[in-house]
């Protein structure tokens, strides 16, 4: 019986991540539109986009590897969500987090881009290959500060269990007690969410939308959906690690939304670095901040 409940809960978690991801994506488009001085699309527009893409009659494939790419990507995102607890109390919507810890989450976060690389590489499009190279290079630079920040948290908390880490923050969230680690991790989050100035991977003006260059129809729909789920997973992780998680659904939405809005604003007002510049920046600024933060732990 417990297994059935767990499975249902897992489904619910993925469903929630999916819908919140698309909701946030819709909000992102609306907020961006307001900054641009226009009204923007309906909030549900991204849902419609994904349904339309799923209903496309044809989607060109380049062999089973190409088909497998987006699926691995999507499963990476789904697994990441499943190992992150949604709430800091109670038994529900904890997902698989009792069976795994922060390290598992960090591991699954890398799976998606690697699956992507597998698929796009087999399409043979040079722009796709270039986008993947950029993606992996950037991923390496993004992980540095994130890993350092999480190591810092693990040292102070003395555990790698996300739930325990959340409970430890019940008095002061890590965001206040370890501001340097937070800043480092947040800058890396901006990159993970693909916002300027670190949006080198899919830059349309440069690499012709990068990894997604050959994705059409169902593949693009899958890629969009995984990115929605993944976005929510990353925001959730940030909230859990630095803002003490959430007790209720409303609190959860509020906290993730605050982080999300800040990244959106950053993305709106900055231009894009080149790959080299963004890697250099990430290795210099957030990494150094993280190291300093780590030393002060």
């Amino acid at each position: 019986m417990a297994t059935v409940t767990l499975l249902l809960e897992l489904l619910l978690m993925v469903g929630m991540a999916y819908s919140f991801g698309f909701l946030y994506y819709g909000l992102y488009r609306n907020i961006t539109a307001r900054v641009h001085g226009r009204f923007g699309p309906s909030i549900a527009q991204s849902f419609w986009d994904s349904i339309k893409l799923f209903s496309k009659a044809t989607s060109t494939s380049f062999g089973w590897m190409f088909t497998a790419g987006p699926i691995i990507m999507a499963s990476g995102a789904v697994m990441t969500v499943l190992f992150i607890p949604f709430f800091n109390q109670g038994d529900h919507l904890q997902g698989l987090s009792p069976y795994g810890n922060l390290l598992v989450v960090l591991y699954f976060m890398v799976l998606g881009p690697l699956g992507n690389a597998l698929g796009v590489g087999s399409s043979g499009n040079p722009f796709g290959a270039m986008g993947i190279t950029r993606g992996l290079t950037r991923l390496f630079a993004l992980e540095m500060p994130l890993y350092l920040a999480t190591i810092g948290l693990m040292i102070t908390g003395g555990t790698a269990d996300i739930h325990t880490l959340m409970i430890q923050q019940s008095t002061t969230p890590n965001l206040l007690s370890h501001p340097l680690l937070f800043v480092a991790a947040f800058l890396s989050l901006v990159g993970f969410l693909g916002k300027s100035p670190f949006d080198v991977v899919g830059a349309p003006q440069e690499v012709y939308s990068g990894p997604a260059v050959e994705f059409g129809g169902k593949f693009l729909a899958l890629a969009l959906s995984q990115s929605a789920v993944f976005t929510f997973a990353k925001l959730l992780l940030m909230v859990d690690l630095f803002w003490g998680g959430a007790a209720t659904l409303l609190e959860l939405i509020f906290k993730t939304f605050v982080f999300f809005v800040v990244t959106v604003f950053i993305g709106n007002v900055y231009g894009r670095f080149t790959t080299v510049q963004s890697v250099e920046f990430l290795l210099k600024v957030p990494t150094v901040i993280a190291i300093v933060g780590l030393l002060r732990v």
Binding site: R38, E206, Y270, G271
Partner: protein
């Protein structure tokens, strides 16, 4: 011979990072460009052939299509070349109106450029704002000429319509609005740390050879050479108007951006003077013969206008009939797109292609006509 590591890609024509329908063939190792070759011809319509088929006055409608982002320098050139060959003088009021059209079109083109330049580094916000402001200028053009993009307004012998009532007032309101708007662009675009990081030191033009190779416009002024046809070779009534020619020494993308930023302010200044000095009276259009009776003498002429991207020249030869014997267009992009761009891209990163192309303002339709 292609090395195994080298890949060849076509940057365009269907590519968001290209300035119009053209393509740049790039040989890359990693993301570093080894060799760049420009390909054009995607917009070739044979203007020079079509102009020869039409009578002089008919041909005027087609020339504004030669450069889409700023059609007015074309009309101005055509009108001035025909006037020069046929010996027509135009009234002072018409000249002031033409200056006004030129400067409005320059402002619109610079705002469009700002959208492209910021888009090339993924800063969409600036483009969204500046295209809105450009649209306000187009609204004024609509009132003045009856067309948004293709004005077909500057005609041999003057301009085709007089100003509508209250037009100058609306223009000066718009200028006030732009005065308020331009500092906002400074904050988000010209001072933006990311743009500065990207643009400073990118696409540096060598100032020693710039004049000999015939670079024009911002490519010259961005490397410290003070050249502007409006002052060096004044046409219309530009010699009665006060304006500065901004120059910056960097020779890079950022210097060219700053030149354009300053030029927008100068355009506003010129427009203010035009509003103040505009003669009240005057025939805006000379009486011309019917289009089959309007002939050009057997002679040739070269006229040039300072467009928003540099010198825009027309060579025109008449043969005594109602048709033009030969009209050749010399836009700034022909030299910039080949002689300048190809060496400039070598050794650059792929990311900077769109950045550099936008800063040179390469517009394919005037390369291939």
């Amino acid at each position: 011979m292609m090395e195994s590591k080298q890949i060849k890609i076509f940057h365009g024509p269907q590519h968001p990072g290209i300035t119009g329908n053209m393509s740049v063939e790039l040989d890359l190792i990693g993301e570093t460009i080894q060799r760049a070759r420009t390909h054009v011809g995607y917009l070739h319509r044979g203007f020079e052939k079509l102009v020869e088929r039409r009578t002089v006055l008919q041909a005027f409608t087609i020339v504004c299509r030669i450069c889409v982002p700023e059609p007015d320098p074309n009309e101005e050139n055509f009108a001035r070349a025909v006037e020069g060959l046929a010996g027509i003088t135009i009234s002072e009021r018409a000249q002031y109106i033409r200056v006004m059209v030129q400067e409005m079109s320059r402002l619109a083109a610079q705002l469009l450029w700002m959208g492209g330049q910021s888009g090339s580094i993924g800063l969409g916000t600036v483009g969204q704002w500046s295209l809105y402001d450009r649209d306000l200028i187009l609204d004024l053009f609509e009132q003045l000429t009856g067309g948004r993009v293709y004005h077909m307004y500057t005609f041999p012998g003057g301009v085709r319509r007089d100003l509508p009532a209250g037009f100058l007032l609306r223009l000066s309101e718009l200028l006030d609005y732009l005065d308020k708007q331009l500092p906002r662009y400074d904050k988000i675009f010209f001072d933006n740390a990311t743009f500065r990081t990207r643009a400073i030191g990118t696409g540096v033009i060598d100032s020693d050879t710039a004049l000999e190779r015939g670079y024009v416009g911002q490519a010259l002024r961005g490397c410290g050479i003070e050249r502007d046809l409006r002052r060096d070779n004044p046409y219309l009534v530009y010699d009665r108007l006060a304006f500065d020619i901004p120059t910056f020494d960097g020779g890079d993308v950022y210097s060219r951006a700053l030149v354009r930023r300053e030029e927008m302010r100068q355009s506003i200044r010129i427009l203010r003077q035009v509003i103040a000095q505009m003669p009240e009276e005057g025939l805006v259009m000379q009486k011309l013969p019917k289009h089959r009776k309007f002939t050009l003498p057997k002679d040739d002429i070269y006229v040039a206008t300072e467009s928003a991207r540099g010198e825009f020249g027309y060579y025109m030869a008449g043969d005594g009939s109602a048709h033009i014997r030969r009209m050749q267009v010399k836009g700034p992009s022909l030299i910039h797109g080949f002689t300048l761009l190809e060496p400039l891209l070598e050794g650059e990163e792929l990311s900077n292609v769109a950045l550099i192309m936008n800063s040179l303002g390469i517009c394919p339709p005037e390369i291939e006509r």
